[in-house]
C-alpha cells in the first residue's frame, strides 16, 4: 500500500488487504433502482429523490426517468478510484483509501471545505448542508470489513451488479465485454478504479463522463475558495489547526491541492 501511494493519501485496511471491485453490467441492468433504494436502506437514509445524488442518495441510475422506462441505464456513484483525488486534496485527511477498495469520507473529521467535491472527476460527492459535511458512497466499507458484499450488490435482482476480488471481477468483466461486444469503463479512467462498468454502447449514450487515464486527475477547486480558506476562518478554527498540523507533518500531501498540474507520483 505504501509503495503504491507513498504518503500522498491516507490509507487503511478493513479486512485482509486484498483489493476488491464492484462490477456493474449495464447490459443486464433493467433500471429498477433496487440498488439505489438498498443503499438508502442500508445507510438509513430518508427516502429522498432517487433522481439526484445527494447526501442521502449515493447512487443514481441515469437517466432520471421512471424505473424501467429507458433502454439504457448508467450507474452514477463513487468509482472508488485507485488514486482518489478527493483524498489527495482533503486538507484534514478525512478521506481514506482502503486496501480492499473503498474510498471513505470520515464525517467526524470532515470540515466541509468542499475541495473533494470539486476534485472528484465524476462529480459524485455531495454536501450535507445541514451538518456541513461531504458525503458519498462508502462501498459499504462496514460490510466489507465483515467480508460481506456492498448492499447495493446483494440487492440487484438481475445480477447486473457483482462484487469480488479485483482480479476475478476484472476477468469476469472482460468476459462479459466480449460476450456483449461492448467495452469496459473504469479500468483505466483516472488511473483505474474499483468499480468496473461493462457497457454495450458508447459512453456518450449512457451520459457517462469522459475521464482521462491520468492518476489523481487535475482538480477544479476554485482559486478564490482556496484563498478564502487560507485567509479567513471558513471551516472553523479547529479545522484550520488540523490542516496546518497535517501540512507540517505530511507536506507531500499539499502537492495535489496547490499544484494540481504537477504529477508527484
Amino acid at each position: 500500500m505504501s509503495e503504491k501511494y507513498g504518503s500522498l493519501i491516507p490509507t487503511g485496511r478493513l479486512l485482509d488487504g486484498k483489493p476488491r471491485t464492484i462490477l456493474f453490467d449495464a447490459a443486464k441492468c433493467i433500471g429498477c433502482r433496487q440498488c439505489v433504494q438498498a443503499c438508502k436502506d442500508w445507510n438509513d437514509h430518508p427516502r429522498t429523490t432517487v433522481y439526484e445524488l445527494s447526501s442521502t442518495n449515493w447512487i443514481t441510475m441515469e437517466p432520471p426517468v421512471l424505473e424501467g422506462l429507458s433502454p439504457l441505464w448508467a450507474r452514477n456513484s463513487c468509482m472508488h478510484c485507485e488514486f482518489p483525488m478527493c483524498a489527495a486534496v482533503c486538507p484534514v485527511e478525512a478521506i481514506t483509501k482502503y486496501e480492499e477498495g473503498p474510498v471513505v469520507i470520515n464525517p467526524e473529521v470532515c470540515i466541509g471545505c468542499e475541495y473533494c467535491i470539486y476534485a472528484c472527476p465524476w462529480g459524485v460527492i455531495t454536501k450535507n448542508n445541514i451538518i456541513d459535511k461531504a458525503s458519498k458512497c462508502t462501498m459499504c466499507s462496514d460490510r466489507i470489513s465483515e467480508d460481506k458484499s456492498p448492499f447495493c450488490v446483494q440487492a440487484c435482482p438481475v445480477n447486473a451488479l457483482d462484487f469480488g476480488l479485483q482480479e476475478e471481477m476484472t476477468a469476469k468483466a472482460k468476459q462479459r465485454e466480449n460476450e456483449v461486444g461492448g467495452h469496459l469503463y473504469g479500468d483505466r479512467e483516472a488511473g483505474g478504479t474499483q468499480v468496473l462498468h461493462v457497457l454495450k454502447e458508447k459512453n456518450e449514450k449512457y451520459g457517462i463522463r469522459p475521464v482521462g487515464p491520468q492518476q489523481y486527475p487535475k482538480h477544479k477547486i476554485p482559486v478564490g475558495l482556496m484563498l478564502k480558506d487560507l485567509f479567513t476562518l471558513r471551516c472553523g478554527l479547529q479545522g484550520k489547526i488540523r490542516a496546518l498540523y497535517l501540512a507540517v507533518i505530511h507536506p507531500k500531501r499539499l502537492i495535489y491541492r496547490y499544484w494540481p498540474w504537477r504529477n508527484a507520483a
Binding site: I30, A38, Y51, E67, G68, P157
Partner: protein, 630 residues
C-alpha cells in the same frame, strides 16, 4: 362497536410497534377538511395488523348500514402494513383499499396494489388514508411529506391512467412522485373500474368507480420518511431468507401465454374452449423489460415493446398475472393485438374480467344470431375483431351508447338486455366477475373464486399439498380430482395465510407458500419489523380474523353464504368443454363444498355468519350481534 374517537386515540397510551408510521390521514372531500388520526392502540394493531383487516375494521366501525356504494357516505379506507416499505424484504409493497362494493351493493369491495405508491404513501408519514364524502368537482389529493392538500383535477379528468400519472407528476413538480389514479372508467362509474398506479399496477374490483363517484381522480404521494424497525439485523436476515424462496419470472416467461399454461386452460370464445394454440404468435419478437416492484426480486411487472405486425412499436405496461391477455383471447383475439388491447384496458382503468365476460356474451350472442348489426349500431361483433373490441373498450370506459353503458354495468346486465339464453352464458360470481382465467379445471381455485369469505374477490386458493411450513400438522394430500375431500380445508388454510401476508403489507404474489420457509420467513420478517412474537399459528389466526371481518361486512348488508353458489353465472359452472380436463366440473360437489368451507372456517354453512364461539376465539366479541348462535 367502538366509536371513531376510541379507535384513534388522541394520545397513544401504548407503544407504537415497529414498521408503522403511526398516523392515518382522514380526508373529507365534501368539506375539503383533513385530519390526522393516530393509529389505534397496540392491542388493536396486534389483532388486525394492517392492510385489509385493519381497513375493514375501521370501515365496520364507521360505515353506515344505509350507505350506498356511490353515495358520499361510502368510504374508502386504504391501509398499508408494517412491512410495507421497509426495503429489507421482497413483497413489502402492498396497500389494500376497502369500501362498499358497487358490484354487489352489499359486500366488501377490496382492491390491493403494489409497485411503489404504497411505499411512498408511508414515506409521506401515513400508514393509510380514510376517504369520505364527495368532491363537487374533479379533485386530486397531493401528500408531500405529511402535507396534504386537495387540488383541482380538471386538467386530467378524462385522461387515461398513464397520461394522468405523467401530468400530475409535472403539476406537483416532483419527477419521481408516485401516483394512484383512475382512468375514464372510474370517472364514468364503470362498476369494474380499477385504481391504477405506477404504470404497471392496478387495484381492481371497483375501487376506481368509488373514487369516481367522489370525483377523486388521483392521490399523489411523495415523502422521505421511513418506519422505525424493531430489529433491523433480524429483519435483514429474514428478508434474505424470504428472498431465497422467490420463484423468479424470466423475460422468456413473457413470451408465452402466461398463467393459462400453468392452469392447462386458456379461455377461448367466452369460456367455450380451453385449448392453447398459437395465441402468443409474434411474442417472440417483442422487447420485454422487467419492472419489478419496490425491492422485490420476484420480477412480476413487465413492459412490452411490440416487435412486429400492425402494432409494431406500441408499448404496454403489465403486472405478473396474465388476466389482460386472457381477456382478449376470450374474445377471439390472438397475437400482439392482445397486448395492444391489454394496454388499452389498463390505461382506461377497467377490470379486465368485467369487460371480458360482458363483451364475451355480446360476441356469443352475435354468433348465435341474438344480436345483429341493427342492434349494435353497425358494430360487427365477430370473434377476434380487434377494431370492434377496441371500440367497445372506449364505449365501456365512457358509458357511450346502450352497449357501452351495459358493459359498464357488467355481464349480468349485458346478458339480461340481450335476453333469450344469454344469461346462461354470463360468467359471474355474485354479479361481479372472477379473476380472468379459466379456473374451471381446478377444485381449489374454483372454490376460492366462489366463496371469498363473502367478498367479491378471493385471495389464496387450496393446494393439493400443504405448504411445507405447515406439514408438521397438515396431512391432507395429495388431494384427488375426483374427490372433494380436503379441498375446503385446504382453501380455508390458504385463505388464512394469504390474508396474513396481505395484512403485514406483504404481497401474496411474493408469498411462495409451496416452498420451504415460504411462510415462516414472512412471519419472521413481520416479527423483526414490529417487535411482536407471532408464530405461524397466530399468523393464521390473524388471517382468519380478516376473513371473518369480510363476511361480517356482507352479513350486515344482506349477504348470505348461499349466494356464493346460487348467484353464479351458469357458464362458470359448466363442465370443462375440452382439453385434458374435459368434463370436469366443481358443480356436482356444490353446495357441499361451500357448506364445508364455511363450517370449517367457523361460520354457519347457509347464513355465512360466524358462530359466537368463533367470534370469541378471535377476540371479535364486539360483533356478537352479527354472529350465529347455533
Amino acid at each position: 362497536m367502538s366509536n371513531a374517537s376510541e379507535l384513534f386515540p388522541q394520545r397513544r397510551l401504548t407503544r407504537l410497534p415497529g414498521g408503522y408510521m403511526g398516523k392515518i390521514l382522514r380526508v373529507d372531500l365534501t368539506t375539503g377538511s383533513m385530519k390526522d388520526e393516530n393509529l389505534p392502540e397496540e392491542p388493536v394493531l396486534r389483532k388486525f395488523l394492517g392492510g385489509q383487516a385493519l381497513a375493514t375494521y375501521i370501515l365496520l366501525n364507521e360505515l353506515s348500514l344505509k350507505a350506498t356504494p356511490y353515495g358520499p357516505e361510502n368510504k374508502v379506507v386504504m391501509m398499508t402494513g408494517p412491512i410495507t416499505g421497509t426495503g429489507f424484504t421482497p413483497g413489502g409493497t402492498k396497500v389494500t383499499a376497502v369500501y362498499l362494493s358497487p358490484l354487489t351493493d352489499h359486500t366488501l369491495g377490496r382492491g390491493a396494489s403494489s409497485g411503489f405508491w404504497p411505499v411512498y404513501l408511508k414515506a409521506t408519514g401515513y400508514d393509510g388514508i380514510i376517504i369520505e364524502g364527495a368532491a363537487s368537482k374533479p379533485t386530486y389529493l397531493s401528500i408531500n411529506d405529511g402535507r396534504a392538500e386537495l387540488r383541482d383535477a380538471g386538467r386530467v379528468w378524462g385522461k387515461g391512467a398513464r397520461e394522468t400519472e405523467d401530468l400530475l407528476r409535472q403539476e406537483v413538480g416532483i419527477k419521481d412522485a408516485k401516483v394512484m389514479c383512475i382512468g375514464p372508467a372510474g370517472e364514468h362509474l364503470v362498476h369494474g373500474a380499477m385504481l391504477c398506479n405506477d404504470y404497471n399496477h392496478n387495484a381492481a374490483h371497483s375501487g376506481g368507480a368509488v373514487f369516481g363517484s367522489k370525483k377523486l381522480k388521483a392521490i399523489v404521494v411523495y415523502g422521505t420518511a421511513r418506519p422505525r424497525l424493531h430489529d433491523r439485523e433480524k429483519l435483514i436476515d429474514a428478508g434474505l431468507r424470504w428472498r431465497k424462496t422467490l420463484q423468479v419470472y424470466s423475460v422468456e416467461d413473457r413470451k408465452d401465454v402466461g398463467y393459462a399454461r400453468q392452469l392447462g386452460a386458456l379461455p377461448n370464445l367466452n369460456f367455450r374452449s380451453t385449448l392453447i394454440a398459437d395465441h402468443n404468435r409474434g411474442f417472440d419478437q417483442n422487447r420485454i423489460t422487467q419492472r419489478p416492484c419496490f425491492q422485490c426480486a420476484r420480477l412480476c411487472p413487465w413492459d412490452v415493446e411490440i416487435g412486429e405486425g400492425p402494432f409494431l412499436g406500441k408499448i404496454g405496461h403489465f403486472n405478473g398475472g396474465a388476466e389482460w391477455m386472457d381477456t382478449f383471447w376470450n374474445l377471439g383475439v390472438k397475437g400482439n393485438a392482445t397486448l395492444y388491447l391489454a394496454e388499452r384496458i389498463n390505461d382506461l382503468g377497467i377490470e379486465c374480467s368485467h369487460f371480458a365476460f360482458g363483451a364475451g356474451v355480446m360476441f356469443e350472442a352475435w354468433e348465435k344470431g341474438l344480436l345483429g348489426p341493427e342492434d349494435t349500431d353497425g358494430l360487427r361483433l365477430e370473434w377476434g375483431n380487434v377494431e370492434v373490441v377496441d371500440r367497445l373498450l372506449e364505449m365501456a370506459a365512457r358509458r357511450e351508447g346502450k352497449w357501452g353503458n351495459l358493459l359498464a354495468e357488467g355481464p349480468v346486465e349485458v346478458a339480461e338486455a340481450i335476453g333469450g339464453d344469454a344469461p346462461k352464458w354470463a360468467v359471474h360470481t355474485k354479479k361481479g366477475t372472477p379473476a380472468m382465467h379459466d379456473w374451471r379445471p381446478h377444485f381449489g381455485q374454483m372454490l376460492r373464486e366462489l366463496v371469498a369469505s363473502g367478498g367479491m374477490k378471493p385471495q389464496g386458493g387450496g393446494t393439493a399439498d400443504p405448504p411445507p411450513d405447515l406439514r408438521y400438522r397438515e396431512k391432507w394430500g395429495p388431494l384427488d380430482r375426483d374427490d372433494p375431500t380436503g379441498w375446503p380445508w385446504s382453501n380455508v388454510l390458504a385463505e388464512q395465510y394469504r390474508q396474513f401476508c396481505g395484512l403485514t403489507g406483504g404481497c401474496w404474489f411474493a408469498q411462495m407458500h409451496l416452498k420451504p420457509d415460504g411462510l415462516k420467513s414472512i412471519v419472521d420478517s413481520f416479527n423483526a419489523t414490529t417487535g411482536w412474537d407471532f408464530d405461524l399459528d397466530e399468523a393464521l389466526v390473524a388471517g382468519h380474523r380478516s376473513m371473518i371481518l369480510q363476511s361480517i361486512f356482507g352479513t350486515q348488508r344482506g349477504w348470505i353464504a348461499e349466494h356464493d353458489w346460487q348467484n353464479v353465472g351458469p357458464r362458470f359452472l359448466e363442465p370443462v368443454p375440452d382439453g385434458k380436463y374435459k368434463g370436469f366440473t366443481i358443480a356436482k360437489w356444490l353446495p357441499d363444498m361451500v357448506y364445508e368451507y364455511y363450517r370449517l372456517s367457523g361460520r354457519h354453512e347457509k347464513s355465512g355468519r360466524p358462530f359466537v364461539d368463533t367470534l370469541t376465539q378471535l377476540g371479535l366479541e364486539e360483533f356478537r350481534e352479527w354472529g350465529q348462535l347455533d
